[in-house]
Symmetry: C2
Subunit: 380 residues, 2 copies
Amino acid sequence: MASDDAASQPRVDGRADGAGGSASEKRRGRRGDRAVTLVDVGRLAGVSPSTVSRVVNNSIPVSPELREAIERAIMLLGYVPNRAARSLAARRSDSIGVVIHEPASQSVSDPFITQLLLGIARGLSEDEIQLILMMAPTRRDEERIQRYIEGSHVDGVILVGSHASDPLPDLLIRRGVPLVLSGRPAAKLDVAYVDVDHRNGAMMAVSHLVAGGRRRIATIHGALDMPSSRDKLDGYCDALAAAGLVYEPGLGAAGNYNPALAGNAMRALLDRNPSLDGVFVASDTMAAAAMGVIGEAGLRIPEDIAVVGYDGTPVAMATRPTLTTVRQPSEAMGQEMARLLLERIEHPSAPPRHVIFSTELIVRESSGSPGCHASRARDR
Amino acid sequence: MASDDAASQPRVDGRADGAGGSASEKRRGRRGDRAVTLVDVGRLAGVSPSTVSRVVNNSIPVSPELREAIERAIMLLGYVPNRAARSLAARRSDSIGVVIHEPASQSVSDPFITQLLLGIARGLSEDEIQLILMMAPTRRDEERIQRYIEGSHVDGVILVGSHASDPLPDLLIRRGVPLVLSGRPAAKLDVAYVDVDHRNGAMMAVSHLVAGGRRRIATIHGALDMPSSRDKLDGYCDALAAAGLVYEPGLGAAGNYNPALAGNAMRALLDRNPSLDGVFVASDTMAAAAMGVIGEAGLRIPEDIAVVGYDGTPVAMATRPTLTTVRQPSEAMGQEMARLLLERIEHPSAPPRHVIFSTELIVRESSGSPGCHASRARDR
DNA sequence: TTGAAAGCGCTAACAA
DNA sequence: TTGTTAGCGCTTTCAA
């Protein structure tokens, strides 16, 4: 029922174009008034522009008196350095690119990705380095991004969520662009990255299901051309094996981190496996979708089917029942990626480092023992 | 139970610093090889750099033969313009800043914000304009951002989620920086913005609750120094009034778009109003949190309490029961913001325009009639 | 239509 | 420690 049928149709308001404004200015770019430059500051302080530059950049010592005079002049004039000029002269941009190389619409609404982003921003903020966000929803965008990176000289790139087929890492390495990946590369590349011990994370999750008495445990995994997806699948198998259970192909289905696909996957799993009593899902958003499907099938969580998600995003607390999940320290990971990148920018020829984070199982309601009431987890 | 107690402790892997790398390079900045410049292209094509520039920018006509020769040379050399140089000479940056002026950790994991961001990115991508993301979690960040905008010359700014106290809009306008706001400003400012008819959106939501037979309807609202929060509250009151119900202060509680706060708010509402049978919540993420609290209180949704959220994010489909919500066309809004900003950059002295979007009520399970089974909504 | 020349504002040798 | 001097690579008058 109901719904405004004008929905989404913008209503344009107010003085439309050309009402009073001069017809065509095309004066893109900086505002009229000439900017204050180093020369202006130098003149006011009675020193040369280079000395001012030295003060501004703290590059080499300047006598206290001059420094003070210069600082006063800077305040007085409200001088702010022009980044373009600085970039041009110094041959660096003081900005880094973050490429989100995924079907953007979904990745960007995945809280895990956004938390990572926040971490990166935090890791960068001390150094006055700007974050240039590049999303690659389409092939054309990829080319645009590639051009941008090659030409415009971001000082480095953080690549989030790349698949095996992604040519970008290899290209950037060849071009000598400092690079950090989220997750180790599919191919053997000498590159810095942050990774997570997903194998162990998945194993914890599935062992937990086993410990709760589940015997027939399925999994909804991500795209298998991502090492992280593979790792989780391996961990899942490890746990089954440890419990003396066997993995059957019919117990796995791809959700590719897309909630809609995950819903379908869940349906298929239920069809194929009537005796299913547990499922391990490779992301919280997919798990939430799967829970919906389970509910619609008339099955109860956790009594009939226990569910464990992955990521530890807020989503896992919003589901009912609340979702047991494997937490990745997403924000810390983002911050570490920023750090690694800055490090590579400083020392381009040092060998790339890797940092591996571990995970944490957060037990909530969705994985309670069958037939029993879920033991309530402290919800942190 | 369980949990890797090394959790979140990064494990550092691989050849640590100084293994083989030269101790200190500090060669920040561009990779060794000299970049290809306009001059190189010109030389190869046998023309002057200015002519090459004209071809690259399509600025003024160039004879077909030369153009072709130049284009060939560009391909051959793999020329890519240097943005810093271009910015410096042309006095524009070809980049715009998106300031997210909120407690970052929450805003960035709110899917509504991220969808808006995606829309902005889409709206920009055709024009090769870069999006510089600026998050202002702390006061220091605000200053950094302000410096950046003033000094470094983004061509314009999109400001997301600003409160009444935010000095930035006013400042930027005075400085002549092209600006677009998400949501109209609290103060009377002559500025471009995109807004949503929240008053009507809220009214639809609450009228829907009334139509379902609810008589005692509470609301969890956002920070009231944001016009959008006020509008929703007004719409809520409108609907109550239309139904002959009265608004009591005890029926409102602030959630400030923070799920944790919203949970507390919900608890307080339940305490204050034992006979509560409906609640309108100003965002989906807050609604999800509120639903959790309702469930913990032993009440059923929608039988005991009907819930309607706001935003129309994927979150609303992930809750159980699924959440009735008011959809904002977030991505379209973002795209429109980008368009408006580009327009202002082109025509700085034209009067700022406003675009108002309308909303759409999406009925799902959480608002079913009391005592009855919820009529299942088609889940689009 | 094309080229020459003068910067854009800054950094970084080099000299003093 | 400070100043002088070249550019960084591009756009954009101005002349031709």
